[in-house]
């Protein structure tokens, strides 16, 4: 069972690295932010699996914190992006 879970950690980590490529390539800010969200979700999965494999029960609490706060940055991204667009005099394009 442990081997299976460790392999799962490796798989999720590989997906995470792919998400990283998306952050590097972009091309837009929104693509990068969505990739960061993907990394947040993948990070939660890695933490839960790692907590089980390495018997660190507190890793679940870290996963919980990430789950609450990982969305937070993207909300700020949308809000700040919109307000700076409004300041430039262009209409926001319904990203929210």
């Amino acid at each position: 069972m442990n081997d299976f879970l460790t392999a799962a950690v490796g798989f999720v980590l590989a997906m995470l690295a792919l998400g990283l490529v998306s952050i590097l390539r972009g091309p837009g800010d929104t693509d990068r932010m969505m990739a960061a969200q993907l990394i947040g979700t993948g990070g939660i999965a890695v933490l839960l699996l790692l907590g089980t494999v390495a018997r660190v029960p507190a890793a679940v609490d870290v996963a919980l914190t990430l789950a609450l706060l990982a969305t937070f940055a993207s909300i700020a991204f949308v809000k700040k992006g919109l307000s700076s667009l409004e300041a430039n005099g262009t209409e926001p394009t319904g990203e929210e």
């Binding site: 960061a36 507190a58 990430l66």
Partner: protein, 313 residues
């Protein structure tokens, strides 16, 4: 090579690569997003190093609140970056590179020259855990054995808030920080701001409570509460309080204030300043932490909300 070692090498490579890219990329916005992702991954590294307390703080600050702060700064800078065309001269670039390389080399040298085994007080901390009745060594150090440092850190948070407020214009002095957000009452953001905070508040209190015996504590819990508060502010459900409000200022000083009162009481009841009587150590520490979680939540929230921008009308 075991699977765990392979995992660690891959994780380290990913973190290092992301760090280099974040430093090298030109647009501030991309660098900020890279930094948020970097914070999430560093939390994984801390868990792997068995420093779950640090991982919790990194997840709350690096992944959440810090990201919001930096995104706000990037949004402000974006307009100035568009008009900025002149690049720094060759000499400045070379000087900056040399300085950065020297700093990096000095840090690397300091880490490599650390004595092995490192001088440590960890066994002493574990040995004396009975004195507080709590088994989380990090909380013991923060709240009991090095309580002085923790108290002064909270005072520093207050100084930081005074610094941010002092950036206000004369007209806005004492007013509400940040813009008044308005959002579609039937939109997704308002829905999320109604759905998430009840869960977040429970998790924040849980992180504080579990901190006595497991990783957690007032700072991490306070950061979660602060982000839930900011979520309702950004959704337009509540407004930031005016900074002249006496009630809110009372919450700001509650944590360090109670800490100081308990510390002074230690002069009479205990052995010294900030010495708790062992029988009452745990309730006293929990009391201080409850006051601190409120102070930390309000301080972090107001720090990110920024300087007062709208006067009270």
């Amino acid at each position: 090579m075991s699977v765990a070692t392979a995992f660690e090498i891959v994780l380290a490579a990913v973190v290092l690569g992301l760090g280099i890219w974040t430093t090298a990329v030109r647009e501030t916005y991309s660098a900020t997003v890279g930094f948020v992702a970097y914070g999430l991954l560093v939390a994984l590294v801390w868990v792997r190093l068995d420093a779950v307390d640090v991982a919790l703080t990194e997840a709350a600050i690096g992944g959440g609140l810090g990201g919001v702060l930096l995104l706000g700064a990037a949004a402000r800078l974006r307009n100035t970056e568009l008009v900025l065309t002149e690049a720094p001269g060759k000499a400045t670039q070379v000087a900056a590179a040399v300085l950065a390389a020297l700093t990096g080399a000095a840090l690397a040298g300091a880490v490599l020259l650390l004595p092995d085994p490192a001088p440590t007080l960890a066994p002493t901390v574990v040995e004396h855990a009975w004195a507080t009745g709590m088994t989380n060594p990090v909380t013991n150090v923060l709240m009991a054995f090095r309580a002085m440092d923790t108290m002064l850190e909270k005072v520093v948070l207050l100084l930081a808030i005074v610094g941010v407020w002092s950036l206000a214009t004369d007209g806005a002095w004492g007013g509400h920080p940040g813009p008044r957000h308005r959002a579609d009452p039937h939109g997704v953001l308002v829905f999320l701001a109604r759905l998430l905070p009840p869960v977040g508040i429970v998790v924040g209190i849980y992180i504080l409570w579990t901190g006595a015996n497991h990783p957690g504590g007032a700072f991490q819990g306070g950061a979660i509460l602060a982000s839930m508060w900011l979520l309702t502010i950004m959704a337009g459900l509540t407004d930031t309080p005016p900074v002249s409000s006496r009630r809110w200022r009372l919450v700001l000083v509650a944590g360090p204030g109670l800490f100081l009162v308990v510390g002074l009481a230690g002069l009479w009841l205990g052995a010294a300043f900030l010495a708790y009587p062992p029988a009452q150590a745990k309730p006293l520490i929990l009391g201080i932490e409850v006051a601190m979680i409120l102070t930390i939540a309000v301080t972090l929230g107001l720090l990110i909300a920024g300087a007062p921008e709208r006067s009270v009308k």
